[in-house]
């Protein structure tokens, strides 16, 4: 494995029905339809997700108008603003794993509603995995203040950055995530993101 890479086994994230319904586009004030097959889908999803992450720490540097992220340079104004005051970043990739995709494919065959729910469960898993990872990172760097995570494709940060992220984190080997020609990650329930780190401000 390349120097500096760190792996985190995050396992299966506890199901959060509220979150899952939110990912299924049901706002929190609305009630779920009586026959929505949520129980069935949760049972079918059990044991599928195997969240894993890989991360790496990079120093930040200015290079004229560009921001040098350590693994690539960017002129994204939105990211530059997001990372204001940061001296370093943490770059990570997190995935719910291949089995989740298979369960989604299977559910989609059975009915569109099940497909939607299984997709929402996968989203909750990977997002929950990211949350867990971020908590671990915050513990690991107690003297630093961490920004929210920021992903390629947000704002004006181009999706093309994904190619560099994949290389930098050796994603194929470390977490089994690869990129298609159209910059789509497989497994589909995967997230890459940048977190800024700055000195903790004195209270």
């Amino acid at each position: 494995m390349q120097e500096g890479l760190r792996l985190e086994e995050l396992g299966e994230i506890p199901f959060d029905e509220k979150e899952i319904l939110r990912y299924a586009m049901l706002p929190s004030f609305a009630s779920a339809p009586e026959e929505l097959p949520l129980r069935e889908c949760l049972a079918a999803a059990k044991g599928a997700a195997q969240c894993r992450a890989v991360w790496r720490r990079y120093p930040l540097a200015r290079d004229g108008a560009l921001l040098d992220l350590g693994f690539a340079k960017t002129d994204s104004r939105d990211l530059i603003r997001h990372l204001e005051g940061c001296a370093e970043i943490l770059l990570f990739a997190c995935t719910a794993g291949a089995e989740t995709d298979r369960r989604i494919a299977r559910a989609k065959l059975q009915s569109p509603a099940k497909g939607l729910l299984m997709h929402a469960i996968g989203a909750q898993q990977v997002e929950g995995g990211c949350d867990l990872l971020c908590r671990r990172l915050a513990e690991q760097f107690p003297d630093r203040q961490l920004t929210d995570r920021y992903s390629p494709g947000y704002g004006d940060l181009p999706l093309e950055l994904q190619r560099y992220v994949m290389e930098a984190l050796d994603c194929g080997r470390t977490v089994g995530v690869t990129l298609s020609e159209s910059l789509l990650m497989t497994p589909s329930k995967s997230v890459t993101a940048i977190i800024g780190m700055k000195e903790r401000e004195e209270a």
């Binding site: 494995m1 026959e35 065959l109 569109p112 939607l116 194929g172 789509l184």
Partner: protein
Amino acid sequence: MSFRELLNQGPFFLDGGMGTLLQAEGLKPGEAPEAWNLTHPEQVTAIHRAYYEAGSHMVAANTFGVHPQRYDLPMCEEMIRAAVACADRARQEANCGHEMFIGLDIGPCGKLLKPLGTLDFEEAVSGFAEVIRIGAACGVDCIFLETMNDGAETRAALLAAKENCDLPVLVSNAYGADGKLMTGGTPESVVAMLEGLGADAVGVNCSLGPDALAPIVERYLAAASVPVLMKPNAGLPQEKDGKTYYNVLPEAFSARIAALVPKGLRIMGGCCGTTPAYISALKAAAGDLVPPALQKKEHTVIASRGTVIELGKDPVVIGERINPTGKKRLRKALEEGDMAYVLNEAISQEEHGAEVLDVNVGTPGVDEPALLCQAVQELQAVTDLPLQLDTADPAAMERALRVYNGKAMINSVNGKQEIMDAVFPLVKKYGGVLVALTLDETGIPDTAEGRLAIARRILKEAEEYGIDRRDILFDTLTMTVSTDRTAARTTLEALKLIREETGCGTVLGVSNVSFGLPEREVLGSAFLTMALERGLSAAIMNPLNSRMMGAMVSFRTLTGRDENCGAYIRFTGELPAMQAVAPAAVAGTAPKETGANGLRRAVVKGLCREAGNLARTALESGEDSLELVKNEIIPALDEVGQGFEAKQIFLPQLMMSAEAAEAAFREIKEKTAGQAEGQAPKGTVVIATVKGDIHDIGKNIVRLLLENYGFEVTDLGKDVAPETVLEAVTRLHAPVCGLSALMTTTVPAMAETVALLHERAPWCRVMVGGAVLTEEYAREIGADGYGRDAMAAVRLVESFIAGNA
């Protein structure tokens, strides 16, 4: 001693990490190690030499990342030549008394294969083939496939090696801490597949240290007949003062590995974080040990991506339902390419206890080789049950065997010379467990002895091809007892004779015994029990038939295979649901309200079963189906649709209503099938997710709603090329086409499809939708309309069709 003999003897020492040492020499993070073959050949050579001198019998040339997915061919060739030259120079310069070999090192290509990813299997094979041909021409001694974390990709690489050189192939996979490959393979399933394809050694490397890898290696040793290799990391990477180091030192590393030699480990080295010092320590610890002689495992196993089934231990249920013989609905689905129907058959059989699925898609008018290949790939995307490939067409068998991820069951060969000549080479090349029918040129012998004689001949011929007898099961052919009163007796006698004499497992399609008789499963289940008692290894049967499954479950319980009768009790608990043939008989779903208003309410509320029941009751009481649609279902859908547009109703609710409407439509279709009065389709719509994109949740919702509203929808699926969309639109002369894209990167493919349709199918109106699109963006790429959501798409289609009329 030859390379293969040395491997079989062991201990055979491999090298350790390369990347780690190049980094120490100045390779920057992110810089490609293989580039150093050209820019820093001295450093690469020195590392190889150090490994030889530390005791490595084989070093892996520095070619791990060289693959046509990353470099063009001339560059691949240049890098491989330089890499092998470095290793060769090291071999000449090294000062040591043992034999020295060079392996062509091949890692993953960096793209995930279909169906999870986007890389086509044959494209993966040809990419690896290029690398292997170049490497073989450079004179390497073996092919070393390593760090592969996907079974399908490993299969592609091994097949490429076997098809493009005669060199020994060592295959090493990378497992996670859960003991699985990233895509779900287990040591047992991987070993079954790789041995079937003819790997010369199998094993594990990278990802974990020796302690964590040891249990995985032990599982390899229990499963494999070929030599096993192990190349762990030096533990886990740790950081101290900004420096990375690995936490297992050479002594502990080598002691842990050496402890596995008495258990059968013969090939060993190190991966990330290991250096020549680790190999020296390993040689010191294990060099004088003698592993026990290689032992061939006698079990008969088939495997899928991650599931292994052993035949000959407990009787196995092979689901028979994916076979169009006598099944009109399936035949129609196959003719229309409706793979969803086939996949649902698979899922329902799995849910009812099938452990293997027979797959037969042979029906007149289809391209069987292409269809079987497609069915296998799509089935493997949704089920992990091993498959039994069932075709009489050797071309179809070969195409399916190539892509089958695992070790398949092959149905079938028989005693006819011509068939044996066609099938045995396939089994030899791709691996598999072969079902051999005891018939030959003269037909099916009337006697058990006659069938035994054919079995002997088949075994003899198989032996000449080098096919192991453990990989053959005999089918003594179930004949219809209504036309020959001794038919079943002969089949069962032959079963017993063959089992006793050859020791091979047996398989029977049991349903045929009762053909032409009433209450077929009464006879069929008794026959199954008799066959099981005579040692039947697997039954090809209908797992959805409660009586047949009852016989199987009971046999297991009565023969002491069912702890606390748990399986039997679980099975009987599901019996009421299985026996309810007609949906009307399902308890607790009686309509709460009858009459017209009930149906409308059921659809609005998204109550699927109730909607179906109400529609049926209404039709049975003589209501007109068109009236029902016009007065009940459509108003309900409109109510929900308007609520959705007003943001009072949300996606899950919309979908449940759509499904409830669908349930009602199903009843109406059933009722009006064959009658002219069915609802005339309002128009044809072709829909697809564009090339490069695999998001289809939104597209599926649009399809469902369009169907609800009475449109004929042809759904081309996801990742669909512009030409394919054009072909369908032209063939159906579709007035409307809907395209979906979820990513900015796939919008160009959408624009290309829109342009192609406008140019070549000018009658067709194109609507687009998907997360990244906006009204403005849609106009920019030339679309005729933008569907903000599923309801908007329905409204658009309605307006297009009304405008065209």
